[in-house]
Amino acid sequence: MPEFRLDTVGDVCPVPLLKVEKEARRLGPGDRLVIDIGQPRTVRNIIDWAVKNGYVTEVTTEAPGMWRLALRLGVVGTGKPRQ
């Protein structure tokens, strides 16, 4: 299962989610996107977006103030492939 990394630490809203959307458009259903996040609000933002699109997320705290969010795209047939 291909896994792609995205670094958003040091990005200020709305850049992180814009980057995530761009990557999500590039990737296909079942692909895994792992995002490094340095800001609590960004974690919330991406999770809200993922929930809206029906993607599955898993967040782990790497260190205080640093999170890794794993996103699985297009599971359950709800996210459409981009092209």
């Binding site: 040091g10 200020v12 709305p14 609590p40 599955v56 898993e58 705290t61 205080p64 103030g65």
Partner: protein, 147 residues
């Protein structure tokens, strides 16, 4: 999957309710709504007259302190400086300048002029609200979002 439990965060509505409660408490105590930007410009707001010097600035500091307390107790505090690209920092500075000027003109920032104004049933609050949204739209388009 909804928000993980260990993020220990509140809902947006809880935050809104808390802020509204803070506003009303402030009104009861001082007769005015909360304002954040006046002390940063060296202005002593009406509500702080009669209070020790720097009281209004201390209020702003208390907000920083409260956020710090929340972050630390949730394990989210992290000093971050080197992760930001220079462009981000410059934009922040310029954005701050524009906010500072705008807040003196409107008058009032998002909490003081918009929310405070609307809650006070003042037309100024509504006009500022629309103007802030318009300005945010322009800024967002300028930064490359939306079509």
């Amino acid at each position: 999957m909804r928000r993980p439990a260990f993020l220990r965060e509140w809902s947006y509505i809880a935050g809104a309710t808390a802020l509204a409660a803070a506003e009303v408490a402030f009104l009861l105590t001082f007769g005015s709504a909360i304002g954040l930007t006046a002390p940063l410009a060296g202005i002593v707001p009406m509500w702080a007259r009669g209070l020790p010097d720097g009281a209004a600035l201390l209020f702003d500091a208390a907000i920083v302190g409260g956020a710090f307390l929340s972050a630390v107790t949730a394990g989210e505090f992290r000093p971050r400086l080197c992760v930001y690209k220079p462009r981000v920092l410059v934009l922040a500075l310029i954005g701050g300048l524009l906010m500072g000027v705008g807040a003196r003109l409107a008058p009032g920032c998002n909490i003081g002029g918009v929310i405070g104004g609307i809650a006070s049933f003042s037309l100024q609050g509504w006009v500022e609200a629309v103007s802030v949204v318009a300005g945010a739209y322009i800024g967002t388009r300028y930064l490359g979002g939306g079509r």
